[in-house]
Symmetry: C2
Subunit: 166 residues, 2 copies
DNA sequence: TATTGTTATACTCTATAACTATA
DNA sequence: TATAGTTATAGAGTATAACAATA
């Protein structure tokens, strides 16, 4: 690992306040910390945050092809192929050729996928609670509201109206 | 580019609310958006966010070796070598061998580095304002305060007391 | 023997281009 | 001719291991 020994006078000093007080630094590291907690929470289920997100989308919307799924999530279709490969190898999703258009694969959750998603979601929610622990209840609500506001107007189906990346 | 044509009935629909309402999603995409704005703001100065962060740390703390710099920023020393290489090629920083310990390189800002940092910092601050525009003044303050709170107690010199990553 | 800077290497993540099969 | 899925390849970004110079 990092194996920092700190044998000299140099204590494990972090970045200066000039850096850590910047909004960009705070956002990035808050995100990293939550992602870390989330990854630990999901690990027992053999999935990572990204795979969990795919499961959520598949679960939430009507049956979609890989390409539609990729567009929804803002990743390109080659990335989606690998993602579905992984999830199919874990037997959490299944590809079915669309009988109406044999070029397309419709992707759906398996029974195991549904139960895994339910449990994973709950574990991830607990991680989120740990992330927020120590905050006054109202601050947790504030945080989500403010983040939604800076992300710009979002239509009913969750579509962002500002250009999104990734 | 993405060249998504949407020739069919499928409008450019985004991820469903089941995903976009999660704190992890909001944090990640807020961070991506600010990073994007920041990158655009810094581009005219020929540096990226990470390089700007290095300049800030070099500017803010007493003269440090590459290794100390790397520790401060939570990157490993091989990454710091490449980072300093870049910044030195742009004549923004200079390596000086430490006369007291000839294994070490003390890194400092050049005159050009100082003026560039000043201008870049100001441009980046403006990007941050654009990111927050549309938010009530108090929400912007809330956001920073809440993020600082979830990041855990931070000592005077900016050192985090919880384990940090990256 | 340990530490600093360096280089070479590998690994992850993602994007681009090209191929196939279908339409 | 265009589209969906796939594969191969290349590019960032970052981590690990090994090496030279110095302590």
């Amino acid at each position: 690992m990092g194996e920092q020994s700190f044998t000299r006078e140099s204590a494990p000093t972090g970045p200066p306040a000039a850096l850590t007080n910047r909004l960009g630094y705070l956002l990035k590291h808050a995100q990293l910390r939550l992602a870390d907690l989330g990854a630990s929470a999901l690990a027992p289920f053999g999935i990572n945050g990204r795979e969990c997100a795919v499961l959520i989308v598949i679960d939430d919307v009507p049956p979609l092809s890989q390409l539609e799924l990729a567009r929804r999530m803002g990743v390109d279709r080659t990335t989606m192929v690998a993602l579905i490969d992984e999830l199919e190898a874990k037997a959490l999703v299944a590809r079915r050729p669309d009988p109406h258009d044999r070029r397309r694969n419709v992707v759906g959750l398996t029974e195991s996928g549904r139960t895994t998603l339910r449990a994973a979601r709950s574990a991830h929610d607990q991680a989120e609670e740990r992330f927020l622990e120590g905050l006054p209840e109202e601050d947790a609500v504030h945080l989500k509201r403010i983040l939604r506001a800076v992300m710009g107007p979002v239509s009913d189906d969750g579509r962002q109206e500002r250009p999104q990346k990734r």
